[in-house]
Amino acid sequence: MKSSRKPPVFIHNLNVKVHKIFKKPLTGDYAFKLLAATFASIIFLILGLMIYELIKGSQLSLQRFGIEFLIGTKWDPAISQVFGVLPLILGTLVTSAIALLIGVPISLCIGLALSEYAPKRFGFAISFLVELLAAVPSVIYGLWGIFTLIPFLRNNVYAYLQGILGFIPLFSGPIYGGGVLTGGIILAIMIIPTVSAVSRDVFSAVPNTQREAMISLGATKWETAKNVISYARSGVIGAIILGLGRAVGETMAITMVIGNKFQLLPSSLFDAWYTMSAIIANEFTEATYGLYVSALIEVGLVLFFVALIINVLARLVVWRSLKLVRGIARE
């Protein structure tokens, strides 16, 4: 059936133009697909612009310090205006490492509990509670950290820990409450939902034949579970890297409990320190001159690349290993 009305001239012209560029007529279908593709491509624009803007914003500091910025150990905005971030990088790495040390074993156990041990219905309820832990905003973790976690650790845990392990320099020195270990602990709590959700998904994706084979050979539940872990090990590595990504980028909670003291190395695990994200949160609005702001933006640039590498790596590992596309997004 042909419509008797001709389309308006401008639509006709547009159609000819589109036809010339894409070698296809501009039907409703094609136009809609083009529209969706355009919107979807905005993500590339965002990431590209982000790199460009961060490099542009840190120009001053890049030119002034060059590589010195990464290996410098002095952060003196007030007098000599010298900026070096090595201590911040160390602070970020160490607190994240503590978070992984504490958080990963617990998360793997939760993943196992949900996929192997718990009855289905009960497992749903528990998964939901663990997901709620991920929904709590970072700043509320910080608030809770200041008023609940720090007093608790200071009064009940740290003194005790020092009593037993005090002969090791790591556990000696004055106890303030906030500090490196507290920062690591709060990060551990915050990465548990991510790591346990992904590991639950990779464990659940292990084919049942694996379990059946183990059980038929007379293996106990735990031996079966061990086999499940080793079958899903690359997915577990992906989960850990995702957790690392979250720990590295975490800002508010760590800023509120780590003590924010710029020094190359803390004297002990109870001492205050600084991280890359914490210095941005703490000093950005107080930065008074161009070079200072530029240095802080460069810290952001370093953080950008660290996060980019970690995230790309994590997705590749998890995707490749088990093609588990669904679970990863639900953080």
Binding site: L35, E53, A135, V139, M256
Partner: protein
Amino acid sequence: MASYKMRKIKDRFMRILVWLALLMALIPLFSILGEVVLKGASSINLNFLTQPTPTVGEAGGGVANAMQGTLLAVGLASLIGVPIGLMSGIFLSEYSETKLSPAVRFFNDVLNGFPSIVIGIFGYTIIVLSIGFSVIAAAFALAIIMIPIVTRTTEEALKLVPATVREAAIALGVPRWKTIVSVVFSGAKKGIATGILLSLARIAGESAPVLVTMGYWRWWFAGLDKPVANLALNIYIFAISPFENWQALAWGSALVLVTLILGTSVIVRIFTREKY
């Protein structure tokens, strides 16, 4: 191989350990909820809900301006974030055969795991440097945080619509785009709304990007090129302040925020239970 008895003991031990780990992870959740409700409830009253932030040393006051500001920033952010996220989600689900879609999906996931403070700095360099600390800059940063979440949940919701529905519509001669917009989309309405709600809850709780793009603001809304107050950021500023009145306000704000965010999660979970 160890003796049967040893293996049995080890099995028991690990079973207990696994459940203990689960318990340990849930303690912080219950502690946070308990503290927030206990300490927050006592500071919530009529003044808290209707008055703006008090000055230092002033008694009373509330967070009404911060609630206004958070609503405004989240609303503006969703104006940018929802359309982009929706269309990207449609693209990923309905045109997954294109070469572009794996790359889009991959970079959406990458952006999803990004530190929010870096996104805040991006908002600073691109908007604050030209028009100053403002609610627009904050909304921009929050929108970027929102996009990957909406994209992902929209894609998942659309994929739950059975292929037979699409085939039926196309067999009736409905063009593909109309099939997507009117048939597939309406079938996935609930899932999509869920995703948008969750993303709104997430950005309502973001404070790091807000700090970098807007800073602390004590007054009511004064124009789109000016900052507004923000609940999440208020919690940070009040919590690290030495004033007891402000700290009480921080707990009250935390209660409001937690109710909002966890309430959304719970409601969403109840309504979409059959899907998970």
